[in-house]
Symmetry: C2
Subunit: 353 residues, 2 copies
Amino acid sequence: MKKHNFSAGPCVLPQEVLKKAADAVLDFDNGLSLIEISHRSKPFVDVMENARALVLELLGLEGKGYKALFLQGGASTQFLMVALNLLEKRAGYLNTGTWANKAIKEAKIFDDVYEVASSKNANYNYIPKGYEIPSEYDYFHCTSNNTIFGTQMKEFPKCPIPMVCDMSSDIFSRQLDFSKFDLIYAGAQKNMGPAGATLVVVREEILGKVSRHIPSMMDYKIHLNKSSMFNTPPVFAVYTSMLTLEWLKNLGGIPAIEELNEKKSTLMYSEIDINPLFKGYAAKEDRSTMNATFTLENDDLKETFDTMWKEAGINGLNGHRSVGGYRASMYNALHLDSVKTLVEVMSELERKA
Amino acid sequence: MKKHNFSAGPCVLPQEVLKKAADAVLDFDNGLSLIEISHRSKPFVDVMENARALVLELLGLEGKGYKALFLQGGASTQFLMVALNLLEKRAGYLNTGTWANKAIKEAKIFDDVYEVASSKNANYNYIPKGYEIPSEYDYFHCTSNNTIFGTQMKEFPKCPIPMVCDMSSDIFSRQLDFSKFDLIYAGAQKNMGPAGATLVVVREEILGKVSRHIPSMMDYKIHLNKSSMFNTPPVFAVYTSMLTLEWLKNLGGIPAIEELNEKKSTLMYSEIDINPLFKGYAAKEDRSTMNATFTLENDDLKETFDTMWKEAGINGLNGHRSVGGYRASMYNALHLDSVKTLVEVMSELERKA
């Protein structure tokens, strides 16, 4: 039976990417596996450079002073690296949930951090708007999409200082003017590839302005000077990310995937809104196209509903404990068919109930 | 033609491991790929716990107060983490080459560091001996095997303070009393698996003794408290490491692989010593069983020799620029046949020359 993988991350990846990645584990270069060749060999250096170039091409950032890095340690390490590399006096953070809180916590180690706005009062079910960003701060930090609460920033503020964005869960999913941002980071394991690689896209001119000594592995400039190969990179995760970026480019890039993502999320939220058994969690204007969070109006139906979606081949639909209920993650590689299947199960529950 | 992969790392891995890893990329759990399931799902939590347990079992450290972690960032990140977690006043480092120097450099960010001994005077072609380790220091740090120079510590000092060892390039290759060490770390990409995972084995009681605030991702205690899942782990690299550890266990564990490694290195060094065209780089008593470094006595033969070994299917034999010449890396998964092939080529060169 076909699986419909709604996992929140790691999550569904394109089948053709999985096939090519598996082939490379067996034979990548003249009978040698991808994971047993030197990372300094030409075949792998080409992979790294191709992946870095595809990132800038897909984001429309070629020739605009940006460079891409593939690092390790996930977004959790970026919470620290951003502060180490950019925080001199004070930074402003937008608090939109769990991940923003973690970013704030790590930055606070180095200095006072100012929350420009927060939606904590409503358990993060909306995105704050109309806040001011003080122009004397070092940078402004926001989280573009909040997987746990199912909210997404639709507009980004006018920002008089460098804008840093954690795009872990919606990068490459929608068209934005990415040149508005000075530093974008993202764990690979949603729209880009397997866990184990972290993408950083940075406008070089914002670096080198803090007075602290930055440890080598935490220093963006060192990684840039070594073309993202200061130390041995996570070879498999970088290669598989490159394959996913190639898949996206061949599909028509971000405009094409955005259209598909809009179709999936429109279908999903329509069902949530018209089906009286379900209730959406996030404020309508801030609903994420990546993660739809919803609850059952009547918890007595939980067992029946859970059995039904599992029997339909659906996987990974349970909500995060901070919200409860359900979460349908609809990342780039999820087929529209999978959303149709879920929506049919929800309609069927309504007919039965 | 069969490939003989002498790469210094990433390097040769067992064929059966590569096959199982490739299979898991296609289908690991009920039709879902290893890299698209949640890391919090039971199948992956089992992988992580199995890998952590196998490490302690193979090293003979079960029930002795140690825990194993699979982190990201390579040994290069450990240079920093060791100092952040253990360095309060002063630490002693043994300087045996490039990697030791990098470890010293990162530790110096936090405090003064004392080199207990160094072999820099002879371009690191031997391991210093007979040095004192001051008992008032926080810890002693050494590098068990030096890939670039081809030296290996055969004895470890009596150490009155916690002993920290970078075993990136010879862990799981030979029998040692691993309980002499308080913290062992190793990038996976030699004897354990693909690049992208870093093993840390730590005696828990040495932690929590420094006064600084440690950032979350840099804090061993946080990773221990979260069972090596504080954030999304590098799923593929951890799984493939687990497969390699299972392969080693089925082979008979470290005693069995040590016997094979001895055979390979004895054969290799015998040829280097009896063949007048070649000269070993490292001091004989400190020769590494993992990386044999050697040069041609007459550089005019370089082109002929290079052509001959490449024609024999040999890969990755060029030496590091710090030493020049050649480096035959003979990690656990390299077959004795591969060393035989190289030795035959060296003998053939002698006959021809």
